[in-house]
């Protein structure tokens, strides 16, 4: 009785708070709207937040459908059997396999979390899942085509982006298999709540769980991106022309801050015509691998201890790999 009583009370608690909040919104929605519209910076932040969130939503939906299917049909043993036995070959397979998920980075995170499984199943699978997570949003056909369209006179840009992103993903997979620790993964996947159940139950429960978790952290990331978008001084670009190193560093940070979708970032990079191609390549390689919203989502699905190590490492690797590949493919500061 006491247990049931407490559970009841807590259930009623969060539901009541939600309902009270909804009634408040229904009553004062107009006032809130007038408040937002009257403040241009706040209105812009709210619109940018909605832009990032609504844009990511369908890709996240695709991601959780795939992760739900993985939970339903691909058992960890089966996945382990599919992957090449050697860690290096497994990472390479996962990197190239990333080209098969035509989406952006938001969908890749929950899929990678499902592929990662429980850390106990071996680091080979974990490394492959992380490589897949970094490769998928950057080297899939949709992203490569949009890059080609955005840079019509520069076919080398597509090759450079593909190469640099794939190398970044493979390096990070290798880094994980060498130095990664299972105890950093503090978020566990839930056990099937109703003791197995039908395939439909397993699928909807997995998709529901993955969506709620990834979307909550997407809110955090989109809010960060919106705030930074408003606070970023617009003159930042103008000081960069002609300063290659500073340009590379700033574009890497900008990629983190703006959190653009990997299917659109090429067009933004193309419009920054006052910068040489190299810093713009860095922008395209860093953005899909690590940005404000991805950091929040990784912290949500893998755990904070993981994200605070993995994201900075990815940032450094992606920036350096993109610089080297850019020097080779694009011939320096053009």
């Amino acid at each position: 009785m006491t247990v049931a009583g407490r559970t009841r009370q807590r259930f009623a608690g969060s539901m009541q708070v939600l309902i009270a909040g909804l009634i408040g919104l229904a009553l004062f929605g107009g006032t809130a709207r007038a408040f937002v519209v009257g403040r241009p910076d706040l209105a812009k932040a709210a619109t940018v937040f909605c832009g990032v969130f609504v844009q990511a939503l369908p890709f996240l939906a695709l991601g959780v459908v795939i992760s739900g299917l993985i939970a339903t049909y691909v058992s960890p043993d089966r996945l382990a059997r599919w992957l090449p036995r050697r860690t290096g070959a497994a990472i390479l397979t996962a990197g190239i396999g990333g080209a098969a998920l035509p989406g952006c980075e938001c969908g890749a995170v929950p899929v990678a979390r499902r592929l990662f499984g429980d850390a106990a199943t071996g680091d080979r699978q974990g490394a492959a899942a992380l490589t897949f997570m970094l490769a998928a949003p950057a080297i899939n056909p949709v992203v490569l085509v949009s890059t080609a369209v955005a840079f019509p006179g520069e076919p080398a840009m597509v090759g450079a982006r593909f190469t640099a992103s794939l190398i970044t993903a493979i390096v990070m997979g290798a880094v994980w298999s060498r130095w990664g620790r299972a105890e950093w993964i503090t978020r566990r996947l839930p056990r099937s709540p109703h003791g197995g159940g039908s395939k439909w139950t397993v699928f909807t429960e997995a998709a529901r769980h993955d969506f709620l978790q990834a979307a909550s952290y997407l809110v955090l990331g989109a809010a960060t991106a919106a705030a930074l978008n408003v606070l970023m001084p617009p003159t930042v670009y103008e000081h960069l022309a002609g300063q290659l190193l500073l340009g590379i560093l700033t574009m890497a940070i900008l990629a983190f801050v703006l959190s653009l979708c990997s299917e659109a970032d090429a067009f933004v990079a193309a419009s920054l015509t006052m910068l040489p191609l190299l810093p713009r390549l860095v922008f395209l390689v860093v953005g899909p691998a690590v940005d404000a919203k991805l950091f929040a989502m990784q912290a949500g699905v893998f755990g904070r201890a993981f994200a605070t190590r993995f994201a900075p490492a990815t940032f450094v690797v992606a920036t350096s790999v993109a610089t080297v590949v850019g020097l080779l493919f694009l011939g320096g500061a053009r």
Partner: protein, 243 residues
């Protein structure tokens, strides 16, 4: 947050997504081409929420109010972070932020929406004053080796922007979502420019005029100038952005 409340939030998020699709307000945030995918997403979210709610109700009915099983149904994985999803529900469902304003999109890096090579463009329709999207006018004025704009009367819509050196016609261009919005603009000069200048900032206008040919010695991109012959104020268009 309890599992039941999570389901309600998921359901509401699905309904809000459906609402912005049905009312068309989603065009303030993303491109119109995303519509079918948003509709599918809305259906998916509502389905996930309803199937979880139905499953829980059935499970509870089977087990009665047995104390030992109650905890099982509201299973242990619970996190406060799901409360964050109330923010998009509040914004999309109740506040509905406005489309990006001209000044919000202003940190314009270049007037060109995307990089386009110098090439001959297809000729304009043979009408007296064909309607062209503002970004296309900017692109053609800068990158058209066939000079299809020369000597042609064209019609352009946009909103007014008052600058120190005269009046401009602007349009917010988005590539993917509102986060990458930027401003494309034309300078308005000529006989009717003074009329355009009498309207308040960000008035929507339909403008007829001819583009002043770009001097051939200007290598970079520049904001084209339109010699305006006629100005008509109009309603704000359905889609706030150009793409």
């Amino acid at each position: 947050m309890s599992r039941d409340t999570e389901n309600v939030v998921l359901f509401l998020l699905g309904m809000c997504t459906a609402a912005i699709v049905v009312t068309g307000t989603f065009t303030r945030y993303v491109k119109p081409t995303l519509m079918p995918w948003l509709a599918v997403t809305a259906v998916l979210l509502v389905t996930l929420a309803l199937s979880a709610i139905i499953r829980d109700v059935r499970a509870r009915g089977r087990r009665g109010d047995d104390a030992d099983h109650q905890g099982d149904v509201e299973h242990a994985h619970r996190s406060a972070v799901v409360w964050l999803l109330v923010l998009p529900v509040a914004l999309l469902g109740f506040v509905v932020p406005p489309a990006l304003g001209a000044r919000a999109a202003e940190p314009t890096v270049t007037a060109l929406p995307r990089m386009v090579l110098l090439r001959p463009f297809p000729p304009l329709p043979a009408d007296r004053a064909p309607e062209l999207p503002l970004p296309e006018v900017v692109v053609r004025a800068n990158r058209d080796s066939a000079n299809t704009l020369d000597g042609r009367l064209i019609t352009v819509t946009g909103f007014t922007l008052k600058e120190a050196d005269g009046i401009d016609l602007g349009r917010v261009v988005i590539i993917c979502c509102a986060a990458d919005g930027h401003l494309a603009r034309l300078h308005l000069r000529g006989p009717a420019a003074a009329t355009a200048a009498t309207y308040p900032e960000e008035t929507w206008l339909r403008v007829e005029g001819t583009v002043v040919p770009k001097p051939s010695d200007v290598a970079g991109l520049s904001v084209p100038t339109l010699t305006v012959l006629a100005v008509t104020p109009i309603e704000a268009p359905q889609n706030p952005y150009e793409y």
